[in-house]
């Protein structure tokens, strides 16, 4: 089972390695990890998607809480979160294929970020499932390269991680 965990930490050097080190030390598997500064520059927010049963998820939350640099840990319930990841996909695109690709991009909510006579680089930000679907749609053109960020997530509604 996938768990999406949001962690607020002190924005110090070395904090990320404490967090990621804890995962490997305790034998937890990370699917993805994303980190960035918050509205308060002294605080960073880490989003981790991890695999494991309920016991694992509970342990994870408790162990993360024990790190001295951790301000807040919250496991976001899967039906109450907005999750996004960003992908850049470079595909083969001959001039006569461009329109077709553009149509797919428009329907799927993707943008063209770069273009050359033989390739297009597509930028898309959405849920992991949507992105998988998109890749299937365009794989026929020949994917040359994919770069993806980790998932970032936020609670739906008015509540925040602090509340």
């Amino acid at each position: 089972m996938k768990h999406t965990i949001s962690i607020l930490v002190e924005n110090h050097a070395g904090v990320l390695s404490r967090v990621s080190g804890l995962f490997s030390r305790r034998g937890f598997n990370i699917d993805s990890l994303a980190v960035g500064e918050t509205d308060d520059p002294t605080i960073s927010r880490i989003t981790i998607v991890a695999d494991g049963d309920e016991h694992t998820a509970q342990q994870l939350e408790k162990q993360l809480n024990k790190l001295v640099d951790t301000l807040k840990v919250k496991t976001l319930a899967s039906d109450e979160l907005l999750a996004r990841e960003l992908q850049l996909i470079k595909i083969n695109a001959q001039p006569n294929q461009r329109n077709e690709i553009l149509t797919i991009c428009e329907i799927m909510g993707a943008k063209i970020a770069d273009i050359t006579p033989t390739t297009m680089t597509i930028e898309i930000s959405d849920t992991t499932n949507h992105l998988r679907h998109f890749r299937e749609l365009i794989s026929g053109y020949g994917i040359k390269e994919i770069v993806r960020t980790g998932t970032i997530a936020i609670q739906k509604g008015a509540d925040t991680i602090k509340k």
């Binding site: 002190e10 050097a13 070395g14 390695s17 404490r18 080190g21 162990q63 809480n65 001295v68 301000l71």
Partner: protein
């Protein structure tokens, strides 16, 4: 303005540190140069790891953070086992290491090692000082973090150029750590529920662990036990919380525990786990506990609750306050039948027999401990000697120290050094096997140098006995790499340090030897001749 190195020393003074254990080197020399002017007593050990173990022993006896110092590179990496040992047993030790200068970090210069990186899995917290002005705050935080909540080691790595910077010294009075706020007080509702669960039990059992010592709650534990009349067992780390002869105490549970304690665990209907983490050596399998028994788990670390065993009544908090509150609100029960049943099992344990031509270590430790004063601190090493000590050394009011979590060989003598310095009025006895002894015997010099009256018992079977026993039982007695060929004449070796030493071959000689050891005013050493197939239990 003062030099940051001097500020480091002042921080230690402000924390009330009287002794530090360490080993100097180039990268920590600015600190040593300032320590030279301080009243803090520095104990030069003979290997860095032992500085860590000595500080460990000191911290456990004084129940306050103790300090250990080493230089960069190999000095720092030699500390790693000591850091891990302190971490596994939640012992508050401040490890201070020198580091190469900031402009050289990352370029693989002489004696450079990323110690904060390498020690990360074994520290409660660590600092690499990048700004000299942060030193007072970092030291204040380090002592606070090490000595509160679930205690543990904190590492401070200080580059040599940082140590020589000039800073304003102002030791903070308070801590402002927005991220670190351990729960101390138990939830009152949950406390009440637990008290009710205990009151409704027919066969409750207390299992006390090392956390009770860490929270300085031995008196509260005894009061709770005696007021409610509930029988008790302990984990290895909880040994000596109860005097061995306490009528409600039934010994150490677990893989190397005694039969009575394990029977008690499997027959109780309510298991009250206090300051213990139900580690794999204590609770060998969750099946070990009766399915029907209700489990109450009291611990200061929320992550321990539910980690190893499923719990019916969790309670997070400091067991000192929790135990005194529980003693207030929990009524005395009638557990006479239950206690009588346990006493009956205890009385059925066959008495240990002497073995011809050798000294029976179990009998010897039993008799020796009977002779020792009430406040004796006994430090066991790791291996068979540890199990013999745990189950046979009778505790009265003193303390038994073992490193139960990490199982680090070579712990007993350096930890005894620390323990003796923290409690000079107590008799301190270190018990070792001939394997571990050869990992720590260099500290005999430290004992002499510091003029410490530490007594040492060596159980010599010319083998790594516990591994031999495992090989006998599990590997058809194929004794791979457990023979200690080339052992020295230990008595001569110890005597060469100026420590009186003798060898005891049989039980007949043991009583006199024990008496000589007890009467010795300085350090003393007894080598015991132990049969190679002696069993742990």
């Amino acid at each position: 303005m003062i030099q940051a190195a001097e500020a480091m020393v002042k921080c230690l003074e402000r924390e009330g540190i009287k002794v530090v254990y360490g080993y100097p080197g180039a990268a920590i020399c600015p600190f040593y140069d300032k320590l030279y002017d301080s009243d803090i007593h520095h104990v030069l050990v003979r290997h860095e790891v032992n500085a860590g173990h000595a500080a460990n022993g000191y911290a456990r006896i004084s129940n306050k953070p103790a300090v250990c110092v080493a230089t960069s590179g190999p000095g720092a990496t030699n500390l790693i086992t000591a850091i891990a040992t302190a971490y596994m047993d939640s012992v508050p030790v401040i490890f201070i290491t020198g580091q190469v200068s900031t402009d050289q970090i990352g370029s693989d210069v002489f004696q450079e090692a990323d110690i904060t990186g390498s020690a990360m899995p074994f520290v409660k917290h660590s600092y690499l000082v990048k700004n000299a002005a942060d030193i007072p705050r970092i030291f204040k935080e380090a002592f606070y973090i090490a000595g509160t909540g679930r205690k543990g080691p904190v590492l401070i790595d200080v580059p040599s150029d940082i140590q020589t910077k000039m800073i304003d010294f102002d030791y903070p009075e308070t801590i402002s750590l927005r991220t670190y706020k351990p729960t101390v007080k138990g939830n009152p509702m949950q406390l009440k529920k637990i008290s009710e669960a205990i009151a409704s039990a027919k066969r409750p059992l207390i299992c006390a662990g090392g956390g009770v010592f860490l929270s300085d709650a031995r008196d509260e534990l005894l009061r709770f036990t005696e007021k409610t009349g509930i029988p008790a067992v302990s984990t290895m780390m909880g040994l000596s919380l109860y005097p061995t002869s306490h009528p409600l105490y039934f010994g150490m549970m677990g893989m190397h525990g005694v039969n009575t304690a394990n029977e008690a665990v499997s027959r109780c209907d309510t298991f009250i786990l206090i300051g213990a983490r139900a580690g794999d050596r204590a609770v060998t399998s969750p099946k070990f506990l009766a399915k029907s028994s209700k489990i109450i788990h009291i611990d200061i670390d929320p992550a321990e609750i539910g980690k190893n065993i499923a719990v019916d009544y969790p309670l997070v908090g400091d067991c000192k306050t929790i135990l005194s509150e529980l003693a207030e609100i929990t009524p005395k029960g009638d557990y006479s039948e239950w206690t009588a049943m346990l006493s009956d099992i205890q009385n059925r344990v066959p008495t240990e027999e002497e073995n011809e031509g050798f000294l029976n270590p179990k009998l010897f430790l039993k008799r020796l401990s009977g002779e020792m004063p009430e406040n004796t601190i006994c430090v066991a090493d790791v291996g068979q000697n540890q199990i013999w000590t745990c189950n046979n050394f009778e505790m009265k009011g003193g303390r038994l120290l073992v490193n139960g979590g990490m199982g680090t060989m070579g712990y007993a003598i350096p930890a005894a050094v620390g323990a003796k310095m923290a409690a000079p009025e107590s008799e301190v006895v270190a018990i070792c096997g001939d394997g571990a002894f050869q990992m720590e015997m260099m500290e005999l010099a430290t004992i002499m140098q510091e003029n410490l009256s530490v007594k040492i018992i060596l159980m010599r079977n010319n083998r790594l006995g516990m591994v031999r026993e495992l090989q006998t039982n599990k590997y058809q007695d194929r004794q791979a790499a457990v023979r200690l060929k080339g052992n020295p004449d230990f008595v001569k070796l110890v005597e060469s340090y100026g420590i009186p030493a003798e060898r005891v071959e049989t039980m007949a000689e043991a009583a006199q030897a024990a008496k000589r050891m007890k009467d010795a005013t300085g350090p003393y050493f007894i080598e015991c001749n132990v049969y190679k197939y002696e069993t742990s239990l």
